[in-house]
């Protein structure tokens, strides 16, 4: 297995543990864990989009009241069941999002023709962003984009895209396997704790 793909495989194996989590506490811990995992590998955590997601999904579920009636806003009942269900779903989505962030931190390589095409796409992407930085002025935008495309399409692929720093990563294989194994045990362990009702129920 390629080093770059270890996190990808770990994420795919961990997905069901998050998707099938029944405990609300369990999903909160899992979400926190994958957020820490992604941020410790260079991904940024933005609080506002996550709060918006949490708020909007929870609010949407309030429209279908069920469970304990907490209080009312005007004639609109706020129920604990709907609130928990919405928050649980939002936490699942946030956990999946950050798991996905973590999965791509090692720049996974896709096999076959599609993989080559994606490599080619990223090669041109790098060329475009590099050329864009050299273009002045950047107004009008159409002229600037036109200039970039003329420059980039003016030459063929100078060197075939190649897996970046793969050789340098080989020595991390064992370390990556062990650490990702630990992540898997933790995420599946939390799933089991939730399924067996060992975690506190809200």
């Amino acid at each position: 297995m390629k080093v770059a793909n270890i996190r990808l495989v770990m994420g795919l194996v961990a997905l069901p543990a998050i998707l099938l989590q029944k405990s609300f506490i369990g999903i909160i811990i899992q979400a926190t864990y994958v957020i820490l995992l992604a941020t410790s590998h260079g991904r940024r955590f933005k609080i506002i989009p996550n709060l918006i997601l949490l708020f909007s999904v929870s609010s949407a579920h309030l429209l279908q009241p069920h469970g304990l009636h907490l209080f009312s806003i005007g004639r609109f009942p706020i129920t604990a069941g709907a609130l928990t269900l919405g928050a649980h779903k939002a936490c699942t989505l946030i956990a999946l999002l950050y798991l996905s962030h973590y999965m791509v931190t090692a720049r996974p390589q896709f096999p076959g023709k599609l993989g080559k095409l994606i490599s080619m796409q990223f090669y041109y992407f790098e060329r475009i962003t590099t050329t864009w930085q050299t273009i002045t002025p950047k107004r009008p935008v159409i002229k600037a984009i036109d200039q970039v495309l003329l420059n980039v399409s003016g030459s063929s692929l100078e060197s075939p895209p190649h897996p970046s720093k793969q050789a340098a990563r080989e020595d991390h294989l064992v370390k990556d396997l062990i650490s990702n194994g630990v992540h898997l045990v933790i995420l599946w362990g939390l799933f089991l704790l939730g399924s067996l009702a060992i975690l506190p129920v809200i």
């Binding site: 909007s56 429209l63 962030h101 791509v104 095409l117 796409q121 990223f122 090669y123 475009i128 495309l149």
Partner: protein, 178 residues
């Protein structure tokens, strides 16, 4: 590299170039704050609109696929629910834009094509959000979502129209059949 060539490799490289352009524009868009995570302006759709006049059917679909995968990889959302919205929106919009451009090209400008694509994309995403996120409450976000989509697609259509008219790069491609 001369794009008007019929060489398969050159054409594939051209698709990769357009997909890279979509990626570049999507990273620009990623930096713009959004009120709802999956709500997008659609800047990355510009290459899809431009590609309508340059690519064959299969190449156009390949461009759409590369756009979704590349965007997911750059933003790190490829294995999350967000990519489902991206796939649904892109499949719906590219299919409708292709049909509108191929069969109604005489009567519909790129602005119309852009509006059709945005509406198809937004409706597909709204349907998905009904099952994935909001349930029946999805109808509450539909009006603002569609209005924002309509406005941004008009702006994008105007931009695409201007680009096609003014771009030296685009016009050099038009000199021969791609």
């Amino acid at each position: 590299m001369t794009y008007p060539s019929k060489s398969r490799q050159v054409r594939i490289e051209f698709v990769a170039l357009l997909a890279a352009c979509a990626l570049f524009l999507s990273t620009v868009e990623y930096l713009i704050p959004k009120p709802v995570p999956f709500m997008r302006i659609g800047l990355a759709n510009l290459p899809l609109i431009i590609g309508l006049g340059l690519l064959k059917e299969k190449e156009y679909m390949l461009l759409a696929l590369l756009k979704v995968l590349g965007q997911g990889l750059v933003t790190g959302t490829i294995f999350s629910y967000i990519v489902l919205f991206s796939i649904a929106g892109t499949i719906a919009s590219t299919t409708l834009m292709y049909i509108v451009y191929r069969f109604f090209n005489r009567w519909v400008s790129l602005i119309g094509v852009s509006i059709a694509g945005a509406m198809a994309s937004n409706i597909a995403q709204l349907l998905l959000s009904r099952y994935l996120l909001f349930g029946a409450a999805a109808r509450l976000i539909a009006p603002p979502f569609l209005v924002v989509g309509l406005i941004s697609s008009i702006l994008l259509g105007i931009f695409a129209q201007q680009f096609v008219q003014k771009s030296q790069w685009y016009n050099s491609l038009q000199e021969g059949p791609l």
